[in-house]
């Protein structure tokens, strides 16, 4: 047990830090720092920079283009990404489909899709949730009927994040109604340009537009786009949802948000003094820092297990559950920090090219403009990717045996 970095780990961190800080485009950094809307191009530009350096897929095996890092190196990379104000890397291809294809894909599928994921040439979205199948994912009803060398897909997916940018969707579809509902599900890759695919945006409570309905009407999908065996998609889905614990706690980003909170609290005033000098506010910051540190140490314990060869287990549910609580706790403190400026809504922040708080605009400093939207928007964190209720159920059943 040693919490200090080795000299090699120090050197690695410095190398990563230097590169990331020098390479991130300032316009993208500004958007991330202020919590502004990022558009497709922002993500793609940045991901290609990382790809060129060979760092876009830290979790992939070396033979498929991963950098071959140890868990500690991956942890340090996540830290430095966040510290450098990197946008979140879009996970659908890199952390979800990529590993799935490496595990279950045919050689042809791997050769066709993996390089394009690494190069951010294809934007993937995830077609899992349906209007009638949220937390109870296996009750999905989108149908894929085999017709010669094609499947014909009919149904509706919802809550499909950033589908408006997507070239492809990986989807769970029902190919059989026999047996338990988990049986009869298949994992299919769908070209979003296929006739019959319609994307309709869903406006969220913060005014943003990240999620969508995707309607699938007689969509013809070549049978070669089946991943794994027909009717065995649940196995693929479980692998996808369970295999990746890196980053699901969001520790590095929460640390960055704590920096932001400290920065804002230093600018805001209370009774004529900087808010950050207020003992009560500091205590609430200390409380959340305890939770964040506990979360980080727990993540490190699990990573150490993994480095020692243990398979990822249901303990990762702690990371998702507590991670979102910490993230949401920080958004609450940010909201409180800006006082009654929290009311001010500048619709411009939802636009791609917000110039910043105009001098003659409402009395909201640039740093405060997105705080309320962020608080509202981030309630989704404890709902998606397995809600906190689902995570508690996993812990109760898979760990405690209840």
């Amino acid at each position: 047990m040693d919490l200090n970095l080795t000299p090699e780990e120090f050197a690695f961190r410095d190398e990563v830090r230097t590169f990331l800080r020098a390479s991130i485009p300032p316009a993208i950094k500004r958007k991330v720092d202020l919590g502004l809307k990022l558009v497709k191009d922002d993500y793609v530009v940045w991901q290609r920079i990382l790809h060129e350096r060979g760092w876009i897929a830290p979790g992939w095996p070396k033979e498929y283009g991963g950098p071959g890092w140890s868990p500690v190196q991956r942890y340090l990379f996540e830290e430095e990404l966040a510290a450098a104000s990197s946008p979140r890397l879009i996970t659908f291809g890199l952390k979800m489909l990529g590993p799935v294809l490496i595990e279950f894909g045919t050689e042809a599928q791997k050769q066709r899709f993996l390089p394009r994921i690494l190069a951010s040439e294809d934007w993937w979205c995830q077609g899992f949730s349906e209007p009638g199948a949220g937390s109870d994912l296996a009750s999905l009803t989108t149908r894929a009927d085999r017709d010669g060398d094609h499947y014909v897909v009919n149904g509706q997916k919802t809550w499909t994040t950033l589908a408006q940018y997507a070239d492809w969707m990986f989807a769970l579809v029902r190919t059989s109604n026999e047996g338990r509902k988990q049986q009869g599900i298949s994992f299919l890759l769908i070209d979003m340009k296929t006739p019959g695919v319609t994307v309709r945006p869903i406006k969220t409570l913060d005014g943003g537009q990240e999620i969508n309905d995707v309607f699938l009407e007689n969509v013809k999908v070549p049978a070669e786009n089946l991943v794994g065996r027909e009717n065995d998609g649940w196995t693929v889905a479980k692998f996808l949802l369970g295999h990746e614990r890196f980053g699901i706690a969001g520790v590095a980003r929460s640390k960055k948000q704590m920096d932001r909170l400290r920065d804002i609290a230093a600018r805001e005033t209370k009774r004529g003094r900087p808010l950050i000098e207020d003992a009560r506010f500091r205590e609430r910051m200390a409380e959340i820092e305890i939770e964040l540190t506990a979360l980080e140490m727990t993540e490190l314990r699990l990573l150490s297990d993994e480095a020692a060869g243990r398979k990822p287990g249901p303990e990762a549910s702690i990371l998702k559950l507590k991670g979102t609580q910490v993230q949401q706790g920080i958004t609450e403190l940010l909201l409180e920090a800006v006082g009654n400026r929290a009311h001010v809504f500048d619709p411009g922040i939802l636009e791609d090219d917000w110039p910043g708080a105009a001098n003659d605009g409402p009395a909201i400093p640039e740093y405060a403009a997105t705080v309320a939207s962020h608080y509202f928007n981030w309630r989704k964190a404890s709902i998606y990717g397995g809600s906190n209720e689902i995570q508690r159920g996993i812990i109760a059943k898979a760990i405690l045996g209840l």
Binding site: T204, L205, E336, N340, R341, P347, P362, F376, E389
Partner: protein, 377 residues
Amino acid sequence: MNFTFSDEQILIRDMAERFFRDDYGLEARRRHQALPGGFCRDTWARFADMGWLALGIPEDLGGVGGGAVETAILLEAMGGGLAVEPFLSTVVLGGTLISEGASTEVRADLLPGLAAGDLLLSFAYSEAQSRHDLNDVRTTARADGGGFVLDGVKTVALHAGTADRIAVTARTSGAERDAGGITVFLVDAGAPGVTVTDYPTVDGLRAGDVTLDGVRVGKDAVLGEVDGGLDLAERAVDRAAALAAAEAAGIMAALTRGTVDYLKQRRQFGRPLGDFQALQHRAAEMYVETELTRSLAYMAAVRQDGGDPATARRAASQAKAKAGQAGRLIGQEAVQLHGGMGVTDEMPVGHYFKRLTMIDHSFGDRSYHLERLTDMA
């Protein structure tokens, strides 16, 4: 001692609930928000017709009497109805300042118009550095001839953009955070030197920043005492805090109801969500917290009318602090229990959640009121 509504109060409640159930709703709200000024003038006129704007105004000035409890009843219904109209700013803040601070002439001049729906008001007491403290005033009012000249910038004044008159706090003497030396002025929104930057708020209402650049007002613009305006301003804001807690209670009740309905109707794992005990218990907590908030909101309303000022202040802070804590819990739980539907713009839950959240950040947030109670005790 009793905690029951009079027949007249029940009448007010039933009428208001009926109005918001039948003649308002999320679609109407969206339409109202899109209108100039961000609310519906016709609806405002109906408020006037129903006597809602005349509450708290003596009958000889066009009012219907009544007090804070009646207003709390209305605001609870408005919470459930998600009203965007400038009721708190005009009737509660503005009305209190004029009723308690204005001369007989000014009252007679303005209150009938307020009751009739012809006069819209705003109270601009906040400044960029002031956070929730009313005594933190940099805006100055310099005596000049018989009147005053006002200079400064006030921030986040509810419905300032549509107000005909704007009450402002300004410093007539003393240093920035002194309790003494503050005076409340009622300024014509169209007066030379007054600029209002109007903007939407995140909860779908409107607010504005008010710039005062050498604005000249007469002595008759003073509400309350020169240099002694802080107490009047705090009374008005305390009243708004107590009544905002009632609005919050109305929202909480709507969110609890809506969540329970959703749990009954939505099926997962082969049965309604409402069958899951963990969710039942959380819905029960939402209900309990709603009732506790409602109890304190009405206590605070009762305490705002007459009686001991310290008791009134403490009651307002208790109710508002409770509304902040319970509101956060209930809002977050309602969204969480609605799952993916909870974060969409389509369902009412998100709109309730936003309004409830912003009530916490109006008229002093939970931290402010807790600290005030701590200082007070």
